[in-house]
Amino acid sequence: MPVAQNAIDFRAVGQVFATESGPLTALDAVDLSIAQHEFVAVLGPSGCGKSTLLRLTAGLMLPSEGAVSVFRQPVTRPRDDVGIVFQQATLLPWASVLDNVTFPAKHKRGRVSAMDRDRAAEVIAAVGLKGFEARLPAELSGGMQQRVGIARALFLNPDILLMDEPFSALDALTRDAMGFELLKLWQASPKTVMFITHSIPEAVLLADRVIVMSARPGRIIADIPVPLGRPRDETALRAPEVQDFAAHLRDLLIAKEAAQ
């Protein structure tokens, strides 16, 4: 019996998709537990079923085999306590920053209350976009757009934050800066984070634990804690043991690819 409550549990989860060229096994026998307020990075090549993992947790699809549960309840449909940040910010181009952030309220309940607007102002300030409330997405840089995407996911104050390669569309500098800001947000208001990525440095910088996956079928090939304390900064990444850890992750990914 684990001490901390598990936020996310995968038990022998398999996912098979019917495609035109026959069934495709996206996930095979995945066992995974993520404790509450843990920051877990899921690292793997494209097509390894990372996004499937995220969508199963979100209740956007149901597993073909095994069971997915969130806070010990089987996931049968999307839950209110799970927020998603996508690879692209996918904002509404016609809506201001404020309206994009309050969109979950408008979409779910049909209206935006004064309380919703206060909450939006709070999360907009938290992601560093105070003063940009009235701007349209097209007037923002890619990094700022993704901040709005994060604010939108935080708006309903979810216990679990699912992030699907959220910074992969950004340039390298913005990407690092966003990583540090995400850590600040997470430390200020702890959440369980499942962070999908194919970047080793990003996984090492952000996560408590890295799950390494192989492609086709998607399997977990390693589940390793990151040997790095918190808070973290750029210098921490240059420590030799962190470099070794990153190299180890790289070896795992490459060895698996070579074996195929």
Partner: protein, 281 residues
């Protein structure tokens, strides 16, 4: 201070004027989006006028622009008004009916693969029917008032609207649909708050194509059966051998189509500025 009193300043301004890059003539012409096409148009009119005079082309083959203007003024403004209004009314009603009918069909096609498999081929068949050929049949079936004309206009204007709306409704990023599902929002809000606004740029390309098609539809209907309207006027003038007047009718039609097209563009610019490409906002 005069430039003379300060040789340094003169040197500076002198070098400034020398260095100021003067755009080549073509660049300067491109920078005049209104003047340039008008200029082209004027040149064509002058060439046209001179050609008809130099080669003594009879006006029933190609009337000179001045003859067309004479033809235009020979018809009293009230008559023009009646013709324009008749055509405009049918075109607009047919256009509105096409919009109202195509929207639910597009939503059905976009939301349900079953519907799109079942009905899309049928729509293509309907589109492939030459409306000009069906027009006389429709007139016989529906009589000679506005109804058959509206139906003919509708048939011409309808298809591009359905296609553009359906394409637009399916152009929504899948992540937003996932967001909608993850919020467990009512289905209709996925349409009204996400898919429809996302389709706006597509819908407006359809609306722009269809509004000019609606004018064509109204004219086709008038060719078949009408006693008023620009289409009727052109046909009547031709049968009376008043070719300059028929040409004047044509000019009025072109002006009507252009104005309607511009009205739709303006509506998009005013109500949905975000839906335009950045450089045209």
């Amino acid at each position: 201070m005069s430039a003379k009193a300060d040789p340094d300043l003169k040197a500076v301004t002198g070098s400034l004027t020398r260095k100021a890059p003067s755009l080549p003539l073509t660049e300067r012409l491109i920078a005049m989006p209104v003047v340039l096409p008008l200029l082209t148009f004027a040149v064509i009119l002058v060439l046209w006028e001179s050609a008809t005079r130099v080669f003594a082309i009879p006006s029933f083959i190609l009337p000179a622009p001045t003859r067309i203007i004479e033809g235009f003024s020979a018809v009293p403004p009230a008559r023009w008004g009646a013709h324009v209004w008749a055509t405009l009314r049918v075109a607009l009603i047919g256009y509105l009916v096409a919009i109202v009918v195509s929207l639910p069909i597009a939503v059905g096609l976009a939301k349900s693969r079953l519907m799109s498999r079942a009905f899309y081929p049928l729509l293509v068949v309907i589109q492939s029917v030459p409306v000009v050929a069906v027009a006389p049949i429709i007139i016989v079936v529906l009589g000679t008032d506005d109804a058959p004309r509206v139906v003919i206009t509708f048939m011409i204007a309808f298809f591009p609207l359905v296609v553009s709306m359906t394409t637009g409704l399916m152009a929504t990023p899948p992540e937003l649909i996932e967001l909608s599902r993850s919020l467990r929002a009512p289905q209709y809000r996925e349409i009204t708050q996400i898919r429809l606004p996302y389709a706006i740029p597509y819908i407006f390309s359809g609306l722009k194509i269809s509004v000019t098609l609606a004018v064509i539809g109204a004219v086709v209907a008038e060719f078949v059966a009408a006693d008023v309207g620009i289409g009727f006027f052109i046909q009547f003038s031709t049968s009376m051998f008043r070719l300059p007047q028929a040409w004047a009718g044509l000019v009025v039609l072109v002006a009507m189509s252009l104005l309607l097209f511009q009205a739709v563009s303006l509506a998009q610019r005013v109500f949905f500025p975000w839906s335009l490409p950045k450089e045209r906002r």
